[in-house]
Symmetry: D2
Subunit: 421 residues, 4 copies
Amino acid sequence: MSSFGQNYRVHTYGESHCKSVGCIVDGVPPGLKLTEEDIQVQLSRRRPGQSDITTARSEFDTVHLQSGTEHGVTLGTPIGLLVQNKDQRPHDYAETDLYPRPSHADYTYLAKYGLKASSGGGRASARETIGRVAAGAIAEKYLKEAYGIEIVAFVASVGKVALPFAEEEDEVLGKEYMDLVNTVTREQVDKEITRCPHKETSKKMEEAIRAAKAKDDSLGGSLTCVIRNAPAGLGEPAFDKLEAVLAHAMLSIPSTKSFEIGSGLRGTTFPGSIHNDPFIEGVDSRTGEQTLRTSTNWSGGIQGGISNGEDIYFRIGFKPPATIAQAQSTARYDGSDGVLAAKGRHDPCVVPRAVPIVETMAAIVIMDMVLQQNARKATASLLPPLTHLPPTMVLPGKSTVQAVVNGKDVGEVQSQKVGEE
Amino acid sequence: MSSFGQNYRVHTYGESHCKSVGCIVDGVPPGLKLTEEDIQVQLSRRRPGQSDITTARSEFDTVHLQSGTEHGVTLGTPIGLLVQNKDQRPHDYAETDLYPRPSHADYTYLAKYGLKASSGGGRASARETIGRVAAGAIAEKYLKEAYGIEIVAFVASVGKVALPFAEEEDEVLGKEYMDLVNTVTREQVDKEITRCPHKETSKKMEEAIRAAKAKDDSLGGSLTCVIRNAPAGLGEPAFDKLEAVLAHAMLSIPSTKSFEIGSGLRGTTFPGSIHNDPFIEGVDSRTGEQTLRTSTNWSGGIQGGISNGEDIYFRIGFKPPATIAQAQSTARYDGSDGVLAAKGRHDPCVVPRAVPIVETMAAIVIMDMVLQQNARKATASLLPPLTHLPPTMVLPGKSTVQAVVNGKDVGEVQSQKVGEE
Amino acid sequence: MSSFGQNYRVHTYGESHCKSVGCIVDGVPPGLKLTEEDIQVQLSRRRPGQSDITTARSEFDTVHLQSGTEHGVTLGTPIGLLVQNKDQRPHDYAETDLYPRPSHADYTYLAKYGLKASSGGGRASARETIGRVAAGAIAEKYLKEAYGIEIVAFVASVGKVALPFAEEEDEVLGKEYMDLVNTVTREQVDKEITRCPHKETSKKMEEAIRAAKAKDDSLGGSLTCVIRNAPAGLGEPAFDKLEAVLAHAMLSIPSTKSFEIGSGLRGTTFPGSIHNDPFIEGVDSRTGEQTLRTSTNWSGGIQGGISNGEDIYFRIGFKPPATIAQAQSTARYDGSDGVLAAKGRHDPCVVPRAVPIVETMAAIVIMDMVLQQNARKATASLLPPLTHLPPTMVLPGKSTVQAVVNGKDVGEVQSQKVGEE
Amino acid sequence: MSSFGQNYRVHTYGESHCKSVGCIVDGVPPGLKLTEEDIQVQLSRRRPGQSDITTARSEFDTVHLQSGTEHGVTLGTPIGLLVQNKDQRPHDYAETDLYPRPSHADYTYLAKYGLKASSGGGRASARETIGRVAAGAIAEKYLKEAYGIEIVAFVASVGKVALPFAEEEDEVLGKEYMDLVNTVTREQVDKEITRCPHKETSKKMEEAIRAAKAKDDSLGGSLTCVIRNAPAGLGEPAFDKLEAVLAHAMLSIPSTKSFEIGSGLRGTTFPGSIHNDPFIEGVDSRTGEQTLRTSTNWSGGIQGGISNGEDIYFRIGFKPPATIAQAQSTARYDGSDGVLAAKGRHDPCVVPRAVPIVETMAAIVIMDMVLQQNARKATASLLPPLTHLPPTMVLPGKSTVQAVVNGKDVGEVQSQKVGEE
């Protein structure tokens, strides 16, 4: 099913050559200021043709709001929106149609549906992501206004060129990398056409991409994404742990290969005594209130599947684009051997354009979790206060549980005075 | 919500010290032979106390079927099942309760719920996985009987000790590793107490675990899991791509840090010309029929989010267990500094016991996808045949789409004779 | 959430004065011939301005397919579609805006969202049903082609004018009414502008509607809907019984007040000895095969929440439209008393236009249930045959269960030979 | 799927002769005082053997909490609970097994699953409702404590004996009936063994039931249920209108035939000028605050699918039990004619025992809607206030929308000061 989310729910439609691609976004809170411009920003960062290292096709991808707002304010009802496809004709037959493209969706769509869109993978087209980017842009707007949440993704590697993740063998992740995670802004990211905000690395990435392009080849890479100022308490135990839903969201982006939360796979090579994040007293970055913080953040802001108020960061790998102009030896549908060379202009490397897709998918996940947690908190807050709970169930040495529930949010879990047992 | 799956749906309940843990499994096909023994096998592989490198606690975790079968056959109705908890008393107060355990769920559960189970993380306990393992064991039984599907997970790394993933810098993954992926059996895996079927590596892992244990420390690691004989066509485009749902399932297992499909993050460092999987004519391993195969399998058996009939394999990272007996400097709930040392016996390394959890979660995902795809195929198969579709939409040069829809499955998509256009 | 269905899932968007109303339909089987004309038929039967007893506004409600088909055939991917709104301006302020309209959604939308579309109820507008009618028209097309399923709704009462449901006090429902249920066609229904296919009653209804209109008043009424040729086995035990989901679907149509399956409330006044439907040997109307039938059908084709192969019929009540031109004494938003008289042209009676809405919602329900049941049947059919089940679990005296699973469907539940016990 | 609800989600399992029946309840707010006694109350009102006009079997149906609470307080995690079945043996073969019981689920379960529980309908057994009653009892506890919500159901008719719904032809519903709706308590209901709180009618019902029992026959009937003190704003526009979800819930109870909201089918015979509910200034019954009320309540407390703060009431019809000891002419599975007479003791009339089932299903629906609405309100409340919205979108003549959002609830939609336009 082409839907994502429980309480903030996105449904998308559209193939590469149909009339339009679009989505319905359900669960947008009423009273949010919202115009097409708010959504267009991320669609424009996503669209092809932004620099000479991405595909040369240039589509404007202008969003058209259909419903759910009036006078620039959301009504709380579903938001329909769409982007016209420029090229709406079914695909003409070509000699290349005798081949299922290697590592593409042509073959699997036939296996799944028994027939396919004439142009190949249909919904596997990157244009399918337009709906999600738009839906996520709405979520971002809310999260920024209501919680001050910032979501920033940046390119961390292209082919074999990577950021300095660690300077020393024995450190989990290095200072330079963690500084980027903790402070980098979208403006800094967009300054580089690679969207890698580390100038030196970016230059090498650019060279690598141009070299691949010159050879009619393609390159993969990876992105890091950080979510700042998310309140503690997001994520549902068991199946819908925050990192699990983030992984689901990220691996649903075309061409993704891997997801790592916090210290990731590298973190698994360190012992618990180093990897654990000790608690310290600190200040909530969002509310300025005193609260428990952690002195390191190898957990990536999530413990037991639930956010702890620290920065949530993760890294996503993208494979090299499957469509290359280089000739490939591969079988035709009928099993006979042949040689396929793709025509047209293709992205030699998709990771720069993936930045807004990753950010907006992250926003959709956080928005959904915020709604789920607010339902719980607001509903629990209406119960009469509890007394005489044993101190192992609440905050030892404190009379209420409020202190750890951070921030200014309404619907705080009710004060629970703990008597002596 | 503590539910997973759309058509094969698992709901779990239970904390570490409540009466029992269990689940309801909905969507089990009627007519499957099923006894408690079928389920017990994987529960016994999961339970603590299996060797001296896992926790010394020994619980038997005997499953009790409550409903959904009669005379050893499933009725098609929900299956309720449970495992008694041995220690059902709420936790007694101890000095350690002044501390939220570092990298544990104590703090985040308080932030989420405003109160917590006296023993700490509640649902974050590894005992929560019992329900899923049971539900997945049922799915495994079906998949084996109906499709001949085999699911095998094995330990790929412990701390810094890892399998030889590649022998050469310039190969995506090496022959030795891919041979394991392609052929290893559960019997071979269970021969080693580390559950790493590579004898030499296993020995080093064992030493590393014993060394960590001696220092009251813990180690992380990673698992590789392979699904063989899954039919092509599984996975839903857009949000529920097969790898996305697998990532969701795997990252919902406690302590997981990363998920990689196929060639994973390493694959992203290679150019498209090497990473693409060319098609070749071959034989379906399950049905013996002629079909298209791929000569390499860096895609991990999934293209465009849909299975292509090759082996589906992925790797999952697990962090070192947060509970260590070593003293840790960390703040108390009230913000004051202190030193915490955990008591009791703990797993120095969880990855050997994670093997059946990973396998059964994989089975749940595949089972769900099988039901979704069978709904589509059986429903589409009742439509009258189509004629005169352009050859770009069906199989060029063939008169039907049947050839690529593999296997003996009923509900095949209807023959679509393509005329000349 | 604005979604309906599990496997055939409809998501709608749109208010009365936004740019367009529309929907995304997910789960449409691939390979179904489908054009905009197929959908337009039911939209045209739904639209205002069809006769002088409905509202005089005339909107054409032309559907525009956005995705999911190529060359007139469904791809199996989500179908996006929309209908432009003619009047897209926000509502101008008027004196009537001081009043929440009695029995309308103005007040409750404010209570729910804190703000509302300027024109009033927003999503409570009858235009919201356009998306569902379109989605249901697609389902109807499939059900007709694959199963020969016919769905016909007709007007059963208007105000106090009703069809002769029973001629005698002591009969559950009368022959004349049941004949309509069993045989009436859409053509016969559309011959009368009231859409009551009983000429004599229709004439009285017309008079009643004209009389109400002359008094600036409105009339309610009821519809009967019948689904013919649905296979046995549809509906999910416990919560998603077929009649429960039908009731959900029907009560989600604006202005509905009641739902009755089969003999309905009247049936509850008869004793079991009369109300039970005895089994008889008969012929499956769809397949022509010998099968068990029932001699009466007070169950309305559903027993234990599951279809039994007989006609499924139910009746839905609609309240008189809340918007009337007659002056009404009612409070303003500020609590002060006043008199409200609606302007503009309104339907004095909505039941004739409700006919296609009821039919298409019924089609959505049946389509969803067909997909769920086909998933189960096709999946179960791959299991090896069972032997030695006790005769109380299968068909006593028969060697397989096939005989009662009706029809030509693929994915039949596997032959289960029962041995002697 | 055996699940109900979006945010308050109930999953049930169990047939009549398996080990136990039970459920998992997900979404219970943390911090609610809850013991087994709280749940037992409604289970005991539901169980067989309460009077000589219900079945003589006597089962105690003692509930066992498995998880989700500690020290008598909910943790916010899933609550597992179960009730042992007394008779856990599969059914022995009898001559009656040659027959599908008329109007029972034997035949349809075979059609659906291809095999069935030996005792017949399996999940169609009334014991399936035990899980829901337990889950609903938890919801009732919360709703009472947090909102003061009262839910009371009572028997409205048995066979042809009915409450005086209206005294005059031209009144929608009569004073005597509406007084019951507005004021009747569970204590008053339980005083009569028929659970009809109208003494005179109850007496006639009792006679009717005894007469039916004497003839080995059965009687149907109907229940009215009222929900008092529900806040305005519950229910989701379009598909999940409050009455639609209530209808779904009620029609999912075994043996139900009809659902009517408010004035119901009778209301459809009156013109809009009488049926509309005019607004008046009044006092919120729950909070004591000044608010808009309606002078009549034919809407049944719901307008546009959303609660308006008035009493929500509806009526549900139940068919006469299908199992009767009277001989019935009906075909055997093999199509041959025969005569079937049920053995054992059966309820001649189920409506008295249906009272707690209806109440608890209603509680589940309201609880789910409360969570959904609280998610929206709490989330929207964090947005900055809006200014300059046109008066048609907010409350004309008031500076905020607060006035109509009733009550003491936290998470109130933010003040929206409306400027001049």
